[in-house]
């Protein structure tokens, strides 16, 4: 008998056996149901956390380098950092002048100031001073109005763009374009609204801000702040090349001797991701391991039930052998039975965890059960089915026909 026919016939026999022992099959599958539910929900939760991180990190921009006074995740000693020189507008100009691989370069400085519009006011709004090229070095889109021009930027025009939080605070029912509002004590004309950005890791809003020309910023709020140089690489694939270039330009600009250590940081999204992955990967692994334990327990349960099932059907096995079933046939029959129990357990588990993942998505954090988790869940169920069925099935296959026929 060829293997395909054998599997097909064994499949039908197994389905019959499972159906005729409904209660036992359901109880056996329960462990796998719980296990698969736990594992897939764990994965969904991890996916949700990853997505939250990804959407936050996207505001940083994958192809943007940030030249700053400090590294985001520095590992040097404090003494080394304390005496670092600020990064100034001269450094920005130097980079802009000499960089070949940067598509656009913009400086930015920031400070918190209160805002006022008529009788309304807002505290602690983040004010960014920059140039007209800033928009190109970020993922910012202008929702209404426009960004400021190079003329406005260089000519110290008192114009500003506002974030969505500011718009909602001051101009919820009116068109903000052209309105005059106060940043600190100085009047600015609103020329644009920045599209909603969301929040960084759910901690602070990226919409609670105002963007003004850096020339104005310096005049009104002073020049004693370290500048961030935002650099968009011309080619994302050559980001490292750009990074090296910027590094050598900065070293030259700051007259660092050969062999001397960099006294500035070139930051990028990757550093964020690396740190995030380092922090979370261990937690993820532990989470998966713990939830997998429930699968192992479920599998032991199935092994148990299959042993009982084989014992109980000793006579049936004897009859089948007497009329010509080979060892392999019996082995396949019981393997398919345990695999089917596990697989249906896995399916039921998915049917439970999928709606729960939708609930998590709607009320807790945006997530989705990735397709590979579904596939993996079913694969694991099948794998555990074969594993937990193997020893009982092997026992059944090597039963002696004479003795099993005599078994009552």
């Amino acid at each position: 008998m060829n293997l395909f026919v054998e599997i097909k016939e064994s499949f039908l026999i197994s389905v019959k056996a499972i159906i005729s022992h409904k209660m036992r099959s359901v109880l056996a599958a329960l462990g796998i149901v719980i296990g698969i539910t736990a594992v897939t929900l764990m994965q969904t939760a991890i996916e949700g956390i990853n997505r939250a991180f990804e959407s936050s990190i996207s505001s940083v921009g994958a192809d943007i380098l940030y030249v700053q006074k400090f590294e985001w995740f520095g590992k040097e000693d404090f003494e080394f950092y304390r005496n670092r020189r600020d990064i100034t507008l001269q450094h920005y100009e130097y980079v802009k002048k000499f960089s070949q691989t940067a598509a656009s370069v913009a400086p930015s400085v920031g400070s918190s100031r209160p805002l006022q519009y008529g009788s309304l006011s807002m505290d602690n709004v983040f004010i960014i001073g920059t140039t007209d090229e800033y928009q190109k070095t970020t993922s910012l889109n202008v929702d209404e109005g426009r960004f400021f021009t190079s003329k406005e930027s260089e000519g110290s025009y008192p114009v500003c763009l506002i974030g969505m939080d500011v718009k909602n605070g001051f101009f919820s029912n009116i068109n903000p374009i052209g309105k005059i509002m106060k940043v600190g004590t100085h009047s600015f004309r609103v020329i644009g609204v920045i599209e909603k950005q969301g929040s960084m890791l759910g901690l602070f809003s990226l919409d609670n801000r105002v963007i003004i020309p850096i020339t104005v910023f310096y005049k009104l709020f002073g020049t004693r702040r370290s500048v961030t140089i935002n650099i968009k690489a011309a080619d994302m694939n050559n980001l490292d090349e750009t990074k090296e270039e910027i590094k050598s330009i900065m070293r030259k600009a700051r007259k660092i001797p050969i062999g001397g250590r960099d006294d500035f940081g070139i930051n990028e999204q990757a550093a964020f991701k690396d740190t995030y992955n380092q922090l979370t990967s261990l937690i993820k692994i532990i989470g998966i391991l713990i939830t997998s334990l429930s699968l192992v327990v479920g599998s032991v349960g199935i092994t148990n039930i299959m042993f009982v099932s084989v014992k109980e059907r000793t006579k049936e096995i004897g009859i089948r052998k007497a009329i010509g079933a080979r060892r392999r046939t019996i082995l396949i029959q019981f393997l398919i039975e345990s695999s089917l129990i596990c697989l249906s357990g896995g399916l039921i588990g998915l049917m439970i965890s999928f709606p729960i993942s939708l609930i998590i998505d709607a009320f807790v954090l945006p997530t989705a059960m990735p397709l590979w988790v579904v596939a993996l869940g079913l694969f694991i169920s099948l794998l555990f089915g074969v594993m937990s069925g193997f020893f009982p099935a092997y026992n059944a296959a090597k039963l002696d026909p004479v003795e099993s026929l005599r078994y009552e």
Binding site: K16, E316, I319, A322, I323, G324, R326, R328, P401
Partner: protein, 230 residues
């Protein structure tokens, strides 16, 4: 008579029980020809069940040769024996040994499944076999919905369905009342007339006298072997 179907030469079967050795068969020689109808008799412990298991390829002898339909069986492995059982032997047991959760048709179909026949042919053959034993109207019944006699007829149909060389019946009437027993024996008589070789294992003289040849076993040896004179 026809050609030699079973040729058993000096077969022994020894069970080791700890230190002791139990000789269930102690050098048995037996030849059975095609289309014969043989009863193997003997009291319990005489070795007749062991002999039946060896003839039925459920078990292998400890020593000696067994040639079944030209094939040397005594050194076959489990799977080869399974194939011989499937193709050459049709078992009829005292306790019927039907699958309780399957209907009559499926029970009869089972040997054909194991021989790899297609579904369509299988069903046709199984239906034919059930019709031949007079159960054409009971095919969809499960064993517990059938009487003892009907169950044994299903078992006979199952034994016949793969056209085996031998029908091997172990106390086939042991669990039946006398009247039904007679009916089953009549069925065997008819099968024999149609060319089937039948080996009947029994301890009842009444049943054994239906056969054409009687082999008596005692203490693992053939005590008597004679042909019934008509």
């Amino acid at each position: 008579m026809g050609s030699k179907l079973i040729d058993i030469k000096n077969v022994t079967k020894i069970y080791e029980m700890g230190e002791e050795k139990l000789f269930a068969l102690n050098g048995v020689n037996l030849e059975i020809e095609k289309n014969d109808y043989v009863a193997i008799m003997g009291p319990s412990g005489s070795g007749k069940s062991t002999l039946m298991n060896i003839i039925g390829c459920l078990d292998t002898p400890s020593s000696g040769d067994y040639i079944l339909n030209g094939k040397d069986v005594h050194e076959m492995d489990d799977d080869e024996l399974a194939e011989i059982r499937n193709r050459e032997i049709g078992f009829v047991f005292q306790t019927f040994n039907l699958l309780p959760r399957s209907n009559a048709l499926h029970n009869v179909e089972l040997p054909l499944i194991y021989s790899g026949m297609t579904r369509h042919d299988r069903i046709q053959r199984a239906e034919e076999a059930l019709n031949n034993v007079g159960l054409g109207d009971r095919m969809m019944h499960k064993p517990n919905e059938l009487s003892g006699g009907q169950r044994q007829r299903v078992a006979v149909a199952r034994a016949l369905v793969n056209n085996p060389s031998i029908i091997l019946a172990d106390e086939p009437t042991g669990n039946l009342d006398t009247k039904t027993g007679v009916e089953i024996m009549a069925l065997f008589e008819e099968l024999n007339k149609n060319g089937n070789t039948i080996i009947l294992v029994t301890h009842e003289e009444d049943i054994a006298k239906n056969a054409h040849r009687i082999v008596k076993l005692r203490d693992g040896l053939i005590e008597a072997d004679y042909r019934k004179t008509e």
